[in-house]
């Protein structure tokens, strides 16, 4: 059995020691650190990305909150604006109504004054005409014209009596 040939032992142990130490040094100094670095870098990258995703999520949530706050504020503003506008409109309407009422009243007064003047004028002209008619009738009947004042006075008295 070749395994029991003691003469080969020194050579086998000698080369085992050399090759094993060489391999150990290569593993210890080069390969293990290299692989460990690669694994660590990957782990770090993954956790970094997870952290960043978390940050972005938080940012997005904050943005949504801010947006909602702005929306609520805008809504409140709009409501006050609408209320203000309707109040202003209402006020204006009242003002206009008041103005219109004033104008109408003035016009009514003017019209009434005009009507009164016209009535007065008409009464005046009727009196004149009645006085002339009375003079002319008296002249025909009596053959004599009454004095200018008498007829007029008489007509006035009649108008006054009739209302």
């Amino acid at each position: 059995m070749p395994q029991l040939d003691i003469s080969t032992f020194p050579s086998q142990i000698f080369w085992l020691v050399i090759t094993f130490i060489a391999m150990f040094l290569i593993m210890w100094r080069i390969s293990v650190p290299k692989i460990a670095d690669a694994l660590e870098a990957r782990q770090k990258r993954i956790s970094d990305n997870l952290g960043r995703a978390e940050d972005i999520k938080k940012e997005a949530e904050a943005a949504i909150e801010a947006y909602e706050a702005a929306l609520a504020e805008a809504r409140a503003e709009a409501q006050t604006a609408v209320a203000e506008a309707s109040a202003a409109l209402l006020e204006e309407q009242h003002a206009r109504e008041a103005e219109l009422a004033e104008t109408l009243k003035k016009r009514v007064a003017e019209s009434e004054a005009g009507i009164a003047a016209a009535v007065n004028e008409a009464v005046q002209s009727i009196r004149d005409v009645a006085a002339e008619v009375a003079i002319a009738a008296t002249e025909r009947l009596a053959g004599e014209a009454p004095g200018g004042d008498d007829a007029t006075r008489a007509v006035d008295a009649v108008i006054k009596a009739r209302g």
Binding site: T8, Q12, T19, M23, F24, I26, I30, S31, A38, L39
Partner: protein, 244 residues
């Protein structure tokens, strides 16, 4: 292989370059060749695989990382965080034995782990190293490793010798396990290869099929024995660091 040649002929050490160190013969042999090949292939596999270290690893880088993670998990699970400083050594042991066994699976190659002197030298270094670590860490308290806690004192005269024997037999069991597995597997392959020749075309395909199946099994064993070697190293280290 010619029929009639011993199945053990494959384990012969053949001197390739004669060398002397004083009176000692340290010739470069076929065994040395495969040790050097093991160092070269393992180093190239790991260094070239990690040459362009990428965030998303390719196949080669994945394999290199996987071998690292495999042993890192093994050390963490059996020894714990205190085993971290010893990781490069255990990783080297595992890769050295694994790649050496795998080189041996190639026909006409040589399996240096099939020699008891090689496996015993490795097991001896592990045994001595682990014992030194234990003594340095625990001083005289290390001797309690031979007296498990919670055992009544009157059992001590019986138990301590048993524990000492079991402790001292560790390097033997560790080295013989690997050596015997490699020896038996390769011998069996060679014996059945001899049957193929002697049975000829008529019935020779039967042992040939068996060889094919056995080669698959041997590859599994080659991996398994490297794993067992590494895990036992971890367990011994754990005992030395934590005393049971």
């Amino acid at each position: 292989m010619a029929a009639g040649q011993s199945p053990l002929a494959q384990f012969e050490i053949k001197t390739l370059i004669p060398m002397q160190l004083g009176n000692i013969d340290v010739s470069f042999t076929n065994s040395s060749t495969f040790m050097v090949l093991t160092v070269l292939t393992t180093s190239l596999f790991l260094i070239l695989g990690m040459r362009r270290s990428q965030l998303v690893p390719g196949r080669w880088q994945s394999m290199a990382e996987l071998s690292y993670i495999f042993i890192a998990n093994l050390v963490r699970d059996t020894v714990g965080s205190q085993g971290r400083p010893y990781f490069p050594f255990i990783f080297t042991i595992f890769m050295f034995v694994l790649v050496g066994n795998m080189w041996g699976m190639i026909p006409y190659s040589f399996t240096f782990t099939s020699h008891i002197v090689v496996t015993f030298a490795m097991a001896g270094v592990i045994f001595v190293g682990v014992t030194i670590i234990g003594i340095v860490k625990h001083k005289l308290h290390f001797l309690t490793i031979f007296m498990p806690p919670g055992v009544p004192m009157y059992m001590a005269p019986l138990l301590i010798p048993i524990e000492i024997i079991s402790y001292l037999s560790r390097p033997i069991s560790l080295s013989v396990r690997l050596f015997a597995n490699m020896l038996a597997g390769h011998t069996l392959l060679k014996v059945f290869a001899g049957f193929v020749i002697s049975l000829g075309i008529a019935a020779g395909w039967l042992p040939l099929l068996f060889i094919v199946a056995l080669t698959g099994l041997e590859i599994v064993i080659a991996f398994l024995q490297a794993f067992v070697f590494a895990i036992l190293t971890c367990l011994y280290l754990n005992d030395a660091l934590h005393l049971h």
